[in-house]
Symmetry: C2
């Protein structure tokens, strides 16, 4: 699968040189008025309606594109992914077809984005060494920051697929059992330590039966694209429930993802080597050739103020390693499987991707404009924004937006 | 929703007085020859083809019954569940209609059963006090057997929905990272401590949006029915991976469920009080009225020898409590959500539902006919069988069968 690497310029006004130029073209499921939702690609401040374009020009792709989820396109396989992408580039760069294609161009402001794919299983990893170290120091100040398994395998767990929501969906503060160390017994009520986790997500576009393995080298034919993820977390519920079977209700109330799924092809120029796995060699099934990290910058904005800039290039485990680990036991894959990186935190204080870390367990409130925060308050709005180097300049991966509503 | 409580006798030869009399009528998705799979109910050694019967007699139910999964019937709601059940009883007890209905009766031996429903999310609990205590003693011999949260909330985690398979599907021994306490570093290879977990599963037949809660009193309108579950577990992979985020690859390679889903109505006579939650009072959202346990007997058979008989009536947490806990944070429910009880173990040694417990961590091999076992060997076949008191005598909930194949 090679990127079309367009050498021509788009005719779409304002798109050339923007974060959404023709080297990007992320996918979403868009709806307008009463028309059924279908697939579109973003170009500048517009969306090319691929459903409508397919009906007119490529009827064989109508079942993949004039449908309200990416699953059918993903299931068609990596060759089709490349063909559809090349076709979209052609439509958006051939100035002689402008009049024809413009009919399928929708102003971004006129579309509503839906959840871009039907989620099969959701696995959340814990792939940032800086994040895992910070969490270890906060929760186990007297013990080793990293647990013994951490550098041998990408630690992960299954999350709740059914509560994954698209960017913009408001999030009710979860209630549940919380017990502070100073309390004798748990009480029931709204979480008092509601947090974000700025992550990156990977959408599987391929089915693999039970009993097989997917190697690190199969990443590009298996993963269709990338989303932003905010894995909302109730730290007080988590602290009380998570031993010994891991987080459950602390996370299962909502996970927000970007409306836009950026194809791997658009991210080829963002490939960078991992920071290094030299001190603890990985087992052969996790070995990789070439640069397998991504130089994606994340911006965490709270109520209009940027409070952190986590760098994805600092992640310890690569997405291809997470994929290989996920299936090494023979677990099957389905189209729509989704896995996330875990909180992205860099080495610097202002690169931490959770309030738990930014406020060091709630002990060090941090400034948000004129206000201070430790954890989220009702009415707070969080926006995660993602950009990366593209073939021509920086590209945008969209945003993950969510506002906290009181417990319902 | 009341059980039809039939006072008449079925005309199906051999069914009256069997484990599958008209007070039972579990559902499955059945296929015969080249015909599309559809829904049937078991009666004695036959299956009543509800898809064919609906086409002829109740065309409005064709979209619920002449389809290869229970999800549509479940989504129709509890009133329809009761109506379909009453209709099946009528067809199978009205001797004047025998000639007409016999055309839709398939010998059990002629049908193949598929996975009975499309699984949305899968949550596995840890609801047996005897099991949790045994595991605590085996893994933490010097610590408290039960962790502090255990009697306050039903501890659970999300499992992999995509690797749930129907009874009879062979299971490849998983491979992965294992590290014995005596080893310095993990190695990669087939699990050396492959185990079973005899459980009961609960199938959700109702959608509930994000931000709501489902109370314990809504159990009967929310849960469609019950399955047997074997939650295969690789103990060596689990021991190395599970801190701090819980089990992942140790479980995600396969979970087997019975082909038959027994409606809650058939299990009304099996209701029994829980053993008791008096020493640690539960929070109000977990409170219940009336008997909320089930007197279901499980038989664990290995290579033709019964090795344990775990009693479901000994479970600490009720299925209604597990449901209320699952949604107390505002998590949504989807039709096809599935949750399991965790290993069923009773107080006696021969009532333990895992080999981990039967062999006490592998230290005390147990007899299996002329052989001995600690964990599963390639070629072993495990059958879990479930029965309960019904309205007329004992009823069968089907079996969960699986044979271990070598690592693929």
């Amino acid at each position: 699968m090679t990127d079309p690497q367009p050498t021509t310029t788009t005719w779409v006004d304002g798109a050339a040189g923007s974060l959404y130029d023709v080297d990007n073209l992320p996918y979403a499921v868009v709806a307008t008025g009463d028309e059924p939702a279908r697939i579109g690609v973003r170009i500048g401040e517009h969306v090319l309606d691929l459903g409508a374009a397919a009906r007119a020009l490529r009827p064989e792709w109508t079942p993949l594109l004039a449908v309200p989820r990416l699953n059918e396109l993903m299931a068609a396989g990596a060759t089709t992914w490349a063909e559809v992408r090349a076709w979209a580039v052609e439509l958006l760069t051939d100035a002689t077809r402008r009049d024809e294609v413009e009919a399928w161009l929708l102003p971004l402001a006129d579309v509503t984005c839906r959840l871009p794919f039907e989620v099969a299983d959701y696995v959340d990893y814990y792939a940032s060494e800086h994040h895992a170290t910070n969490v270890g120091r906060i929760f186990r100040p007297d013990g080793a920051a990293l647990l013994p398994n951490w550098k041998h395998l990408p630690v992960g767990y299954h999350g709740r697929a059914g509560s994954i929501v698209v960017s913009g969906t408001p999030v009710h503060r979860p209630a549940g059992q919380r017990k502070a160390p100073t309390e004798d017994a748990p009480t029931y009520g709204p979480s008092r330590r509601l947090d974000i986790e700025a992550e990156l997500g990977f959408v599987v576009g391929r089915s693999v039966p039970l009993g097989q393995r997917v190697g690190t080298g199969e990443f590009a034919e298996t993963v269709f694209g990338v989303t932003g993820v905010n894995d909302w977390s109730a730290r007080d519920i988590q602290a009380w429930e998570y031993v010994p079977l891991g987080p459950n209700l602390a996370k299962s109330f909502a996970t927000s993802i970007s409306a836009w799924v950026t194809p791997l092809a658009a991210l080829e120029p963002a490939r960078v080597p991992l920071p290094g796995q030299d001190d603890v060699p990985v087992l052969p099934y996790l070995a990789e050739d070439g640069p397998s990290g991504y130089d994606i910058e994340v911006e965490v904005e709270l109520n209009g103020t940027v409070v952190a800039r986590p760098p994805y290039r600092s992640m310890y485990w690569s997405p291809a390693q997470m994929l290989a680990h996920l299936t090494v036991n023979g677990a099957s894959l389905r189209v729509g499987d989704f896995y996330a990186s875990g909180t992205i935190s860099g080495p610097e204080k202002d690169q931490r991707g959770s309030f738990l870390e930014l406020s060091w367990g709630g002990q060090e409130p941090f400034a948000v404009g004129d206000a201070e925060r430790t954890f989220l308050e009702d009415g707070d709005e969080v926006v995660l924004r993602y950009t990366a180097p593209g073939a021509r300049g920086r590209i945008g991966l969209g945003e993950v937006r969510g506002k906290i509503l009181p417990t319902s």
